[in-house]
Symmetry: C3
Subunit: 248 residues, 3 copies
């Protein structure tokens, strides 16, 4: 059982961060907030997300989980106007969600959590190179790369302390080299380079363009972890994208 009140924009921001990868997911509630863990249908990208009780105006919840159709829920939340608050309540049966937005009262059926794809186990990874940069800089590089090819190299050159994003197409090549001046920070004790599908980066780019600071963790031929805060620091989104390992 839960009863929540939150600025509609904060809830939308959190749900959209999952919706770029999956249509349906589970929301896991605890007295401290809710979390989402999900993996895209092709098992290439995972999202982990938490929204803390501090992000809410009112937050009362027991331990529990619900299954939600993210597209439908975001479609209903699209009825909210700027600065609208949204109230969410689970009905007694646990099968219906009551949503109140600016006078509108929606009742929507929830998914049976047992029918939602199992949550992924998040692997523990050593990703020793960390780059911190503005979300808009990263998104610009992804879009530039998309014009020439399908895969993007992310590279840290430890000696020269630069972070390079690079894509190669059949006839074209593009590169964005960011030195420490253009980054918020670069911490690395070694070189690192991995190759990623631009398709997935474009998907998550929809949500991270607004982030003032995005943290990238990288290693050699390892997944990349891309993290940023939401809800004025009262929430956190973390993506993990599998690398494409070049065949010989």
């Amino acid at each position: 059982m839960f009863s929540l009140e939150i600025e509609s924009d904060k809830l939308k921001e959190a749900l959209e961060a999952a919706e770029v990868l999956v249509d349906e997911c589970k929301l896991n509630f605890t007295p401290e907030g809710f979390t989402i863990r999900a993996v895209d249908p092709a098992n290439v990208a995972m999202v982990t997300l938490e929204l803390q009780r501090e992000a809410f105006i009112n937050y009362e919840a027991d331990e529990g989980e619900i299954g939600v159709d993210l597209k439908k829920l975001l479609d209903l939340l699209a009825m909210s106007r700027k600065d609208d608050l949204v109230n969410l309540q689970l009905d007694e049966t646990g099968h219906k969600l009551l949503i109140q937005i600016g006078g509108l009262s929606y009742t929507t059926s929830l998914l049976d959590p047992s029918t939602v794809r199992k949550e992924p186990k998040i692997p523990k990874l050593e990703l020793p190179s960390q780059i911190r940069l503005s979300g808009s800089v990263l998104v610009r590089a992804i879009k530039a790369a998309d014009k020439v090819g399908s895969y993007l190299w992310m590279k840290v050159d430890n000696n020269s302390a630069v972070f390079t994003l690079e894509a190669e197409g059949d006839t074209d090549h593009v590169q964005l080299t960011l030195s420490q001046d253009e980054l918020i920070a670069l911490q690395s004790s070694t070189d690192a380079r991995s190759l990623f599908s631009i398709e997935y980066l474009l998907d998550i780019g929809k949500t991270l363009g607004k982030a003032n600071e995005v943290r990238i963790n990288l290693a050699n031929d390892h997944p990349v972890k891309i993290q940023f805060s939401i809800a004025d620091g009262c929430g956190e989104v973390s993506y993990l994208i599998a690398p494409r390992v070049e065949s010989d």
Copy 2:
């Protein structure tokens, strides 16, 4: 024969109010203004509309009718810029309309009025419950309802003096309950409830969203009448939408 001059935006507003229901219609001219009466192809929704001579800068007209292709006429009027005046003149033969907008002179063929669908007879109806509210509030409820289902209940609860808009889908339900605070006025001596197709409400919603005040007249399982002023009060639009009567 007629010769008219009017702000282009006022003429467009009037013609669009008919065009949401029909592609072609007759314009009936008298020395006092023109009127339109039309019914949509499925006979679910009627529009009655008048634009009084006071809405025009110059207005000279005899009794008479012309047949117009509303989509084509609105497409030509789309060439007008903000604050442009438009001049309309019927040529001597009565078969051609001369349109002047910001230096452009169009001549467009009219439809033979005998080929345009016969104008509907407007039924006299007792619709004792009247609700007056902002057009934008009504349009928001229609859009919210469209997200869950195909039909919208309009209900007046006389005791509690509230107006309720409600839609039910296969899995979802939405309701907007408006008390007298949120309405401009509610006058009713009895309960009333009727069910309407959201498709038609969305169509007319295109024109009534800008109206400061929309008047709804309702009864039990009867058509709803939805009225609003245009052209700064020098014109009036009235829609009548047939109810969907629930089968047992």
Copy 3:
């Protein structure tokens, strides 16, 4: 070999002026600037264009030509933000173009100039009637004409000193008559009238709407020449469109 630096918007303006007619073209470089000459696939419209070295921040070029895919190049330039500068360099082999825009480094393959369609010979024409008018007025007339038909008459009436744009459809007719008040200038010692395909005028309309002054040169049943300045006067675009000669 060349090495150029220019405001991205100026380069885009120049390339778009050619791209409305052709997908690929040659850029001919001299120490004084570059030029383009191209004809559309149906041989109806030609473009001649020059961008002088004064339009550039840095300009170093030998005599030479390169073949470019205009759509691809404009797609890359679309990554530039307002006020971004763009650097272009030809690599040593002459087959690759290096493009730098706001930190992004693109390398793109050029087309073999011998595979690009041969540049047209620009005919010498006597077009004694000259009309100078705002680009937006001309574009408005083209769009108005497009609503009624496929061909646009351009006519100069020497006696009354008016320029008329006129189109006729199956049922409709539109005319825009511009006297010297509404034109920047009209110089003509004779009447002139020719008929042109609106399709091509719409294409070039995409680029000339922003021009403060467009110069039209006209004769009887002759091509029309339409010219305007780009890059703050450091460049010039000239279109030549073949007339449609009415069969008897």
